[in-house]
Amino acid sequence: VSDELEFHLVNDLAAMAGVVEAVEGFVAEHRLPAEAANALYVCVDEAVSNAIAHGYPEGERGEIAVRLHRRADGVVLEIEDDGAPFDPLQAASPDLTLPLAARPIGGLGIHLIRSLMDEVSYARRDGRNVLKLTRKLATR
């Protein structure tokens, strides 16, 4: 059982199946609890689809890396892309008090990421966006 997983994909939604399968494998290998597994699946979907949508001009090929690291006290999910500088954590929180018909969907993804993860940070490093998300787990 490896404590590390690194998966690379191109900036195309059609390529997301592979990363989901890789995360499923990691979840099974580490026997992560259902809540943590759900958090990882949702955050991977939000962060990777966000990077694909915001990082690249039409037709430009890019590369996204997804890393998972099982630490003693939790699991770290890192999403790195070579797209335009974009800090998703700057997105405004959605107004959750609005009625259904008036609900904008923008900002919901990042709201879910913040709610599901214990620590979130963004950095622009070596020309890449790095989103680091940590979910705490009972110490093994």
Partner: protein, 126 residues
């Protein structure tokens, strides 16, 4: 069965079982409601409502997880249902899916039932 999340590689992340119960259209998506599959699923729901299936139950028991893209599809379906004077009911939320509805503050906004039977009754009520 209708593959709703088909991608260029032929991969399907959600499939939808469609049936009818007592005049209520029942949709049971199975798989993930994610960035890939949610749009085709939402499109199918809107298409059905426009075609006259205004009383609809979406049974989410086969959903592994739902992301914001899934909620976007459900919001669009809800709007179409309202515009068509229809009724859209959800049921079969697993603990994790329910938690996502809670985090998005959607629990009180959608009509949500525990079982399929309750959902069908609610969808067909005047």
């Amino acid at each position: 069965m209708m593959p709703a999340g088909s991608s260029r590689g032929g991969w399907v992340s959600v499939e939808v079982i469609e049936s009818n119960a007592d005049g209520v259209t029942v949709l049971e998506p199975r798989g993930r409601m994610d960035a890939v599959s949610s749009k085709p699923f939402g499109d199918r729901v809107v298409e059905l409502i426009r075609a006259g299936s205004t009383r609809m139950l979406i049974d989410l028991k086969g959903i592994q997880y739902i992301s914001s893209a899934g909620f976007r599809a459900l919001l669009i379906a809800h709007k179409q249902s309202t515009d068509s004077q229809g009724r859209l009911v959800l049921c079969g939320l697993s603990a994790e899916v329910r938690r996502m509805f809670e985090l998005g503050a959607f629990l009180d906004l959608f009509a949500i039932c525990g079982t399929r039977e309750e959902g069908i009754a609610k969808a067909k009520a005047k």
